[in-house]
Amino acid sequence: MALKAENVSKTYGSGLLGSRKCIFREVSFELEPGKTFGLMGPSGEGKSTLGRIVAGLESPTSGTILLNGNPLLGMKKAEYTAFRRRVQMMFQDPTDSFNPRKRIEQSISEVLKLLNSPESKRLQSTKEMLKTIGLPKEVLARYPSQLSGGQLQRLALGRILLLEPEYIVLDEPTSALDVSVQAQILHLLKKVQAEEGIGYLLISHDEAVIRFMSERIGMLKKGKLDMIRT
């Protein structure tokens, strides 16, 4: 039971012209349910790229991603759809994580529609979700531009939770937020993890955030992953 990255490398640029740029080479680590793996390092070292690869949104140049021993590359369509549900990603900028032309309600109900949840149950699960993330019901009628960054980041998390994922890749989830809101979001993430047993891959350049959140920590620097805390 784990989400594993095995010997993952990523290079950019075409090989023919010799202008290949290696972002990172042979990186391996493992996410366990209910635990957090913190990935830190200076910007421009490919932390986000590694996150996207783990979440299956980008393919690595070499190496494999395994979900419970099942390689991502060889998955059939149905399996991949299941993978898409089980591994989610949360992005840095809360202000553009929701479609600005839709009310929050609409964005949420679309996710529920995607899950084929019956219409009668939708309101119930939306309410439960709002309770988990600690927001009042009024936010549903708002447009994203009418909400603060902290509220939107909570909602982004809540929307992901509706899919009942096993792993979430958190790409700088608090770096666009104020300190007091950052603290709230981090506590919320911890609470959700304790309740649902979700495994996190936390990507951040802020060492304090990583140290606060993670059981194990890796440092991505100069294309290599050094384990700092295991």
């Binding site: 898409r84 989610q88 992901i160």
Partner: protein
Amino acid sequence: MKKGICIQKSPGQWKDSIAHYLNLDIRKYKKTFKKFNRGGLFLFFFFLILALFPSLFAPYPPTERFVSYEPPSAAHLLGTNDIGNDILSELVYGARISMMVGFATACISTFIGLMIGLCSGYFRGTIDELLMGFTDVVLIIPKIPLIIIIGAFLHPSIWTLILVLGLLSWESIARVVRSKTLQIREAGYVKSARCMGFSSFHIMVSDIFPNLIHVLMPKFMLTTASAMISEASLSFLGLGDTSMKSWGIMLSFAFSRGGFIRDMWWWYIPPGVCIALCVMSIAMIGFGFEGRDEKERRGMDAE
């Protein structure tokens, strides 16, 4: 340097700093612009009503015949033409045809442009290169000469005209839609929608398309306006459908059947004025949409 900093802060301040430099109040101009836009809407609805209910406004059916070459009088406000049709009635009925050509063309070209732009912007890669290559090919075809040739070979009909104009004027829409799609594609909500497993079709329809409307609307209006102009010029060259009398065809007849020689200004000036006003009103609405888009963006920037 200072100038550079101020200008690039946000689109809103860009305008403001121009105002600072010219030392004038831009708000005043905005207001007149708004009035302008309202005037455009008013004119447009006037023409739209003319086009939808011509029988309410025209004194006679357009095919009824009276004495020919009559000057303006109480019975015929704009006189009659060579075969004795009442020119005012012709003018009113012509609105429908001119506007229909404009809007049908714009619908076709907006649809094609949207599809091509959306697909090439969203899927990128090979599809993008193929579609944009095709767009470039269409872009360099000289439109009017091609239509003249097609018109010479095919039976001149309003429907061929619409089809040909529509099939040839979507390139700029496709390019605008593509660049906007490329931009929206990188937004967080599209990324997270892909991450949550929504289908590409769903993302394109429900996440990207609504954010394209504000660039599509002005484009749609301007395409309509330019299609109406194209129709008028082609009709004037004698490539129009003579069974459906648009304003362009009226001009053409006035030219070929002695309106100009006899100096019958009531025959050739009204359709010309109508084309000019109608196109202007549509273009003004288009500009109005563009202005609103800018305002919205500014609102977002001001947080």
